[in-house]
Amino acid sequence: MANSSTTKETAPTQPATAMSVLAPAIGWLIPGAGHLIQKRWIRGLLIMGSIVIMFLLGLALQGRVYRPNGGDILDILGFVGDVGAGGLYIVTRALDLGQGAIAHATADYGTKFIIVAGLLNFISAADAYHIAIGKKP
């Protein structure tokens, strides 16, 4: 009878450091800052520039910033995407910007720019976490 060993190899768990918590949190709040506090200056500045400019372009195109809602599924997903922009979203909501302009066809581009800026910031916050735990140089 074959030896039925049930031992499983598990991936080594990474120790939770302060940086592994701080980097993604700061990176979410301020786009690119998760890289900057880990001294990845060029990466951080490029990410910050890309996401901030994309978000501001979205506002300039009169895109809509989604509010918390429990209605249509696309509105809920739009809100989730917008929240990814972190501090940019908070400031925009505080200043009551991003009302959206249905008079312009290109305003819909602005809405998509804002959502994608938030989604890209989620990716960059995850990248900052991977750098913090040593998974990525």
Partner: protein, 60 residues
């Protein structure tokens, strides 16, 4: 501030910023990041041209 962009310029700007973030986050070394960012940009802009020609064909 009210900005008006054409379809193409909006798509190119989108491609630039998304490619920068994709390149940095999806690859490890600097060389790989640059080449992957350029690849993503080419795919985005190429996709715009392909979609444009497909719509032109469908319209005929």
């Amino acid at each position: 501030m009210n900005l008006q962009l054409s379809h193409f310029s909006a798509a190119v700007l989108f491609a630039v910023f998304a490619s920068v973030v994709f390149g940095i986050t999806q690859r490890s070394t600097s060389r790989e990041q640059i080449s992957y960012g350029l690849y993503c940009f080419a795919m985005f802009v190429g996709g715009v041209f392909v979609a444009g020609w497909v719509m032109w064909i469908l319209r005929r």
